[in-house]
Symmetry: C2
Subunit: 157 residues, 2 copies
Amino acid sequence: MELDKYDRQILNILQTDGRISNQELADRIGLSPSPCLRRVRALEEGGLVVGYRALLDAKALGLTLMALIHISMDQHTPERFSTFEAAVAGIPEVLECLLITGQAADYQLKVVVKDLDAYQELLLKRITGIAGVSGVHTSFVLRRVVDKTAFPVGEGR
Amino acid sequence: MELDKYDRQILNILQTDGRISNQELADRIGLSPSPCLRRVRALEEGGLVVGYRALLDAKALGLTLMALIHISMDQHTPERFSTFEAAVAGIPEVLECLLITGQAADYQLKVVVKDLDAYQELLLKRITGIAGVSGVHTSFVLRRVVDKTAFPVGEGR
DNA sequence: TCTGAAACATGACATAA
DNA sequence: TTATGTCATGTTTCAGA
């Protein structure tokens, strides 16, 4: 899919303000509303725009503890992996699960909980018990220096 | 800030569909539009809702490589940290920068780039050169098993 | 690009818990 | 008193010309 200057501007603006009205969006990119909306629809249907989300403040929700959990598996079989993946996908506190290389670990999870007690309970009751999990190492997040959802989209301007 | 049943429903729906109309939102939580909109505004002004974002598809944008970069600093002085943080905050490819404990590293960066060449260039030209960076270790992301922006907004807390 | 119908946002106000 | 529902008004969306 080819993106021109307008498409890139649209994507950059929507990554910043997902609730902007089509009229204002059209104004800001210097196009009239109709073609602007057509482009937005095309970007959505083309799969470039996956969806629109409200972002919440973790602290305001009482979720003050974020941790990275590095997990290694005993065997590298498809069954082990799919069991593990299905299990973590069902845990609301797990925001991210990445299959990674370059470390002792196989997976990195990112989790949020309200405090250390909740963390311990999550780890012991929901994670270490998953079949195949052999090693677990936790890093606590002291501060989120950068936390963006916006991917870099070319020149757009 | 106290959240009742309606507030939690609103947050959960907005975390899934950030562009839902107020009328449909009101329908889905079983309230009429006015009080529903008042609650949304209160949640926004109370800082619970940080903003609304369109989420894009990294692959569709040609950003096929995601990596975690673990970084250790030579000295743990405030100057080192603020220099580093200001530098990474200005790099569009850096989606996340976490100050962490529990590892050899001090920071974990999450970056997206189009390929290995772009990765190498990012690392050598923009990251290893920052004052104070003494150790760098890269983990490549093979697959994103779970990737959510939604925090758990549960019943009891 | 323009236009008009339908859907929507939003505030005033009356009302019920 | 606090939160809700109803209604009226202006705005936005969006398809067809």
